[in-house]
Point group: C2
């Protein structure tokens, strides 16, 4: 019997989850829920219903795990605690500073309903968090480094698009190779924001727009660009479509630490990702943890869980005997 999956929200991430279900033979897509008019939403899987989001509770006995594909700013803080009243749920909430509050809201609702709510699953937070946690537990004295990219930051791209005279924009976050090399070599450098990453923007400007003004507005934008060395390239709409329509991303988590009586030995633990599609990879992580949510709830567990709270074996379609024999 397969695990019945519902997708709540059908943007880039929801489409990625739909593909991930197809790659996991023990899961099956039951329905896609959208806030748009369902008749206007075309999905990739034949014979699966698209349902209006406000009808989701009608499906409470038909779905084992609901994968919530909403935004972290306003959607998930409302949706996840609300939907965990009727479903095992999983989300990719990624506003790091607000995770404790989100955890506590979801935990309360999930314990009341007897369901499991897994939050903040993806690659950061998610796999990068696991890399940080395992390596900190092993090397208790050391330094942590996270580099992002090369990849498209959707938040920064959106910020550039809001500037007057900008028709379209894509922002790449790029790690500084020399900084990465210094960390990998075990030198444990202290690095400023500017020393770790550069930002590269590709911008389609409106006809007659003041490009110098746009470039200056980007480079001086507080929080987003002011603390970085930023390069701005103006391109045509055709070039944007041809060269920048993908959503690649990735990054590196490194911990460098010491052992030995006189701290004479250095060790470097590195976890790195090179992703052609950020949403499809995130979706693949979500489906593995959706399997865990289903199993944990079947065992009678409830409440909020994170990637830290789930034994890795729960993520695997294979049996315990198989993973002990072939992966350990």
């Amino acid at each position: 019997m397969s695990i019945k999956i519902g997708i709540f929200g059908y943007g880039n991430l929801g489409r990625g989850v739909e593909q991930a279900v197809r790659k996991n033979k023990d899961t099956e897509l039951v329905a896609v829920f959208s806030r748009r008019d369902p008749s206007t939403v075309k999905i990739a899987t034949p014979d699966v219903e698209v349902v209006s989001a406000d009808k989701v509770t009608d499906y409470k006995d038909k779905i084992d795990v609901l994968v919530i594909c909403g935004g972290s700013a306003t959607d998930l803080p409302e949706m996840t605690p609300a939907l965990v009243k009727d479903f095992n749920v999983i989300d990719s909430f990624d506003t790091h500073a607000n995770i404790p509050t989100h955890f506590s809201n979801v935990d309360k609702a999930a314990k009341e309903s007897g369901k499991i709510g897994v939050i903040s699953v993806g690659w950061d937070p998610g796999m990068f968090s696991l890399a940080r946690l395992y390596s900190n537990c092993i090397l208790t004295e050391g330094s942590d480094y996270t580099f992002w990219g090369k990849g498209v930051s959707q938040g920064h791209s959106d910020a550039v698009r809001r500037i007057e005279g900008v028709v379209d924009a894509r922002q790449y976050t790029v790690p500084v190779p020399e900084a990465l090399e210094a960390v990998r070599s075990g030198k444990n450098p202290e690095l400023t924001t500017r020393q770790k990453h550069t930002r590269v923007c590709y911008v389609v400007a409106a006809e007659g727009a003041d490009k110098a003004k746009i470039e200056n507005e980007i480079k001086t934008m507080p929080n987003y660009f002011a603390d970085y060395d930023t390069t701005v390239n103006f391109i045509t709409a055709e070039e944007m479509k041809r060269d920048h329509s993908g959503l690649p991303h990735g990054g590196v988590v490194i911990r460098s630490g010491k052992t030995g009586a006189d701290n004479e030995h250095n060790h470097v633990i590195e976890y790195s990702l090179k992703l052609d599609s950020n949403p499809e990879f995130t979706a693949s992580v979500l489906i593995a943890f959706a399997r865990a949510a289903y199993r944990l709830n079947n065992e009678g567990q409830s409440g909020c869980k994170t990637v830290f709270d789930i034994a890795p074996a729960y993520l695997c379609a294979q049996s315990h005997d198989e993973i002990i024999a072939h992966m350990l």
Copy 2:
């Protein structure tokens, strides 16, 4: 109250565990057990007893977790099931093919005694196993690659030392850079044993020994060297001591896999280790999982566990609130 640790076996790994206890403020070393005459064993921690191994059961109420630092060939298959009758234990059993049998022996004894036995902890098996498992659960279609080195292989060094005319030897396993690059780029190559690693030996020969014969015996040794390109360097005993007295190691686990409707997106997940001291790093992993063994047993759990069966939060000295706030 700190977690009371015993070390059973005081070789390179046992000395590493002793150092790791000093780096983990919530743990405390209670006793070192040795099969040698205790009066001949000098340890690095003042005021800690060295006790004869056959007296270990006298300490059953004084130790929370016993870290068994024996060899996988003959020690651990006997020691771990025997010692788990009286102690929560942890070992670094690394004969991959025999893990299912070892698991089942330890599980039976541990369930009878109500203790926890964590087996096969270290970096391979251990952290590399976790890297393989997580990445296989995420990228269900793909290829796995493990490269070891550059580092000292003690088994291969011992094999060279057994050759007539060899006084001392050190063998380094070295990944082939071109193979590593092809895998990292997402090309998913099929690689033979010879294409993945080379072996480099440093040998101190006895005076008057036939070096050509030694070199030929090394290069043609079945299982150990015959399937590899091997380089043999003859050096003096002084050079051996000066340049090759460390035990560095490391390696890389990579999974490269596809997502998307037409498998149009490739993703590369890489976990890599660069270790100045193989035994001290392994010991640091052991202590983190010893903490987990203690906590699991305090919750009333018993039986055999592997790195796959333990939620990551159990490894951390910090509270759940702290790790949610700072590491997720």
